[in-house]
């Protein structure tokens, strides 16, 4: 039993650290550090900076143009990004659609999309949820009806993060309404968001920001060649995508960043705290830090299992606990910053003096998306505990 990284891993860490220090723009760094929203250009520039050295797609195998890193290297890489206040590579591209195309895409799709996806020449949106299909995703009702060498797609998709910046959307649609099981009649389509019949409407969330959207699909014609894998097998690919989305999602470094802001706020006079309040908040921060330390070890344990080629259903623990701690830290920050945190920047307005409120409201969604915490507990109960 040994917690230390190997000398090779430490050399790798130093290499990543030096690269990020040299290449991350101070403006992007400041935004991430303070929890401010990133512009499209911030995300694209950083992704391309990473892609120039082949690091934009940490989880992709070398055969698909990725760096071919081990699970430990991926962890170190992400940890360094968080510590340096660098943005994550765009998850829709890198963690979601990329691996699906690599595993199930046709050669033509790989040639057409993979490089552009890695370089963020194409920005992808996720078209899974619908008004009637959230946690019960397989209940989705958007339809695709075959018409020659096209599908005609109709339906409404909901919660498309950053779809207003996106070029394409990977989408689940029902192609066989008569399938015996509802999971059986679903196909996985790639939809060009510039196609006629696509309407994207913004949804402003409680953080005051425009990140998610609803996407209406009215008689959108999608070439059959833009279907991933087999018809009616889309559920298999979606499950694969979701399992990738959920691994390594503890985001410990992000919580550390919020706690650093808590520590800063606790020592600032602006917060206007009594000694008793300060002591209470400091104790809460200490408690979160302790749980975070434990989660870091838990993460490494899951990682070690992955490294040994085992899939570990305990990764659901990382999602549940990781989100819980991030939410707790953001709530603590909001309580600690004091009256300056009451000001708010609504979408399109100038920056607020503190992003504490925005961050707090943003993170309420973290226990809902990517498999709600209650769904994760169901997964633990059935897959880990055998209930």
């Amino acid at each position: 039993m040994d917690l230390r990284f190997s000398p090779e891993d430490i050399a790798f860490r130093d290499q990543v650290r030096a690269f990020v220090a040299q290449n991350l723009s101070p403006e992007t760094r400041r935004k991430v550090e303070q929890g401010r929203a990133l512009d499209k250009a911030d995300v694209v520039d950083w992704q391309r900076t990473l892609n120039r050295v082949g690091w934009a797609t940490p989880s992709w195998p070398a055969s698909a143009g990725g760096p071919g890193w081990s699970a430990v290297q991926r962890y170190i890489f992400m940890d360094e990004l968080y510590a340096a206040c660098a943005p994550e590579p765009l998850s829709f591209n890198v963690s979601m659609i990329g691996p699906v195309l690599i595993a199930y895409g046709s050669d033509e799709q790989k040639a057409r999309f993979l490089k552009a996806t890695a370089n963020l020449d194409i920005w992808w949106a996720q078209g899974f949820s619908e008004p009637g299909a959230g946690s019960d995703l397989a209940a989705l009702s958007a339809t695709a009806v075959r018409d020659g060498d096209h599908y005609v797609v109709n339906g409404q998709k909901l919660w498309q993060g950053m779809a207003h910046r996106a070029d394409w959307m990977f989408t689940l649609v029902r192609t066989d309404p008569n399938a015996a099981k509802k999971q059986g009649g679903i196909s996985f389509l790639l939809i060009d968001l510039k196609a006629p019949g696509v309407t994207i409407r913004p949804i402003i969330t409680i953080d005051g920001r425009h990140e998610v959207n609803e996407v209406f699909l009215d008689d959108v014609r999608v070439p059959v060649g833009d279907r991933v894998g087999e018809e009616n097998q889309g559920w298999t690919y979606a499950k694969y995508l979701l399992s990738n989305e959920r691994t390594g999602i503890a985001r410990i470094g992000m919580t550390r960043r919020i706690l650093a802001r808590v520590a800063e706020a606790l020592s600032s006079v602006e917060a206007g705290l009594t000694e008793a309040e300060r002591a209470r908040h400091a104790a809460e921060a200490t408690a979160i830090e302790a749980e975070l330390r434990a989660l870091e070890i838990t993460q490494l344990r899951v990682l070690a299992a992955q490294q040994a080629g085992q899939t570990d259903p305990r990764s659901s623990i990382l999602k549940i606990k990781g989100v819980e701690l991030r939410q707790a830290a953001s709530e603590l920050l909001l309580r600690v910053v004091g009256p300056i945190g009451y000001a708010f920047a609504y979408e399109g307005q100038d920056e607020a003096p503190s992003e504490a409120a925005s961050n707090y409201f943003t993170l309420r969604a973290a226990s809902i998306y990517g498999g709600a915490s209650e769904v994760q507990k169901n997964i633990i109960a059935s897959s880990v505990l055998g209930l």
Binding site: M1, D9, E291, I297, I320, L385
Partner: protein
């Protein structure tokens, strides 16, 4: 980085689990025969020279089987004090490692916060010391016990070894709520010679701290074993107990509570591992911080898992004879210890 046990460690785990599952009446003797008491001590002192990971394995196995042993007080706390003393008393260590002389850890006092100077006093007299004071919660005190006592001498910490049969030592026995036999031990003008002193001043302070840290690491791992036992029993109960025509495991509220138990247990397990891998860290500041974090996480998990196990067992969980009720009391004691440090 790896979390695997070595072949020897896996064997030790196997040996300990088998022994604790049998829970023989002469458990301490059997542990001595198997070399388990000798584990953490240097080979020169009759020990096996094993480290904190091996101790963690033993603790977890003891917890899993819910056995009450003197290991924590005798081998871990008192043993650490002997082993890390400025001049380790080789003969004492080898007799402890062989199971010949039972040592006990006499540290707690009434109304004392952890880390505070002890009220038990030692004053020097004719080359030796005269000790007066009272210790509580001294566990597993055998008739021929030797007590490792923390005290204050001339305003400075001191640590001494005092035999229970010394003139002026008296005991009152009771049990802790987890079933552990415990004693209140009083010292009235007890005279010991200079060889009784294990450490003084800063060295005694460090020694006390190290003993307490090793105790935390041990109890954390014991808690992990206990929590695993309670979770296993709870899962079995949820699968077999039927109400409203269905097994309890069909009810989502109960499934989610079981999932919460696993999350807490795995967090605690991570911390028990971290404790074992950090408790010998020479960097005092880093080690102290880690041990504090271990205490915070493990204490919270003890409470969550213990309370949930009782709740999910229903009425049977609050009975004295059921292992889950007893396990909950064991976990509650560890929770309180973790809070006090």
């Amino acid at each position: 980085m790896n979390f695997d046990l070595s072949e020897d460690q896996a064997m030790l785990k196997d040996t300990a689990e088998r022994l604790f599952a049998q829970a023989p009446a002469d458990l301490w003797t059997r542990m001595a025969e198997l070399g388990l008491l000798a584990a953490p001590f240097a080979e020169a002192d009759g020990g096996l020279g094993l480290g904190p990971v091996e101790t963690m394995i033993l603790a977890e196995a003891a917890g899993r089987a819910q056995v009450l042993t003197a290991y924590a007080g005798a081998i871990v706390a008192a043993g650490t004090a002997l082993r890390l003393a400025p001049v380790p008393p080789s003969a004492s260590i080898s007799s402890l490692a062989a199971g010949e002389v039972p040592f006990a850890w006499a540290h707690d006092e009434l109304g004392m916060a952890s880390g505070e100077a002890r009220r038990t006093r030692a004053r020097s007299s004719g080359g030796g010391w005269i000790v007066s004071g009272r210790k509580i919660n001294v566990t597993h005190v055998a008739e021929d016990a030797r007590l490792v006592v923390t005290a204050t001498a001339e305003g400075e910490p001191i640590m001494l070894v005092i035999p229970l049969d010394a003139q002026g030592v008296s005991r009152r026995d009771h049990h802790l709520f987890d079933g552990t036999p415990a004693s209140e031990v009083s010292f009235y003008e007890v005279v010991v010679d200079a060889t009784a002193v294990l450490a003084r001043s800063a060295e005694a302070e460090v020694l006390t701290e190290r003993a307490c840290e090793h105790l935390v690491a041990f109890r954390a791992a014991e808690a992990v074993g206990l929590m695993q036992a309670l979770l296993d029993a709870t899962l079995e109960h949820l699968k077999t107990r039927r109400q409203f025509g269905e097994p309890l495991s069909a009810f989502q509220a109960l499934r989610h509570r079981a999932a919460d138990m696993l999350v807490a247990l795995e967090q605690a397990r991570s911390m028990a591992m971290l404790a074992a891998l950090s408790v010998e860290d020479p960097d005092g500041a880093a080690r102290r911080r880690t041990i504090a974090q271990v205490r915070a996480v493990v204490g919270k998990a003890c409470k969550l898992v213990g309370q949930a196990a009782v709740q999910l067992h229903g009425g049977v969980g609050v009975t004295e004879e059921h292992p889950v009720g007893r396990g909950f009391r064991q976990l509650t004691l560890i929770d309180l210890e973790m809070e006090r440090g």
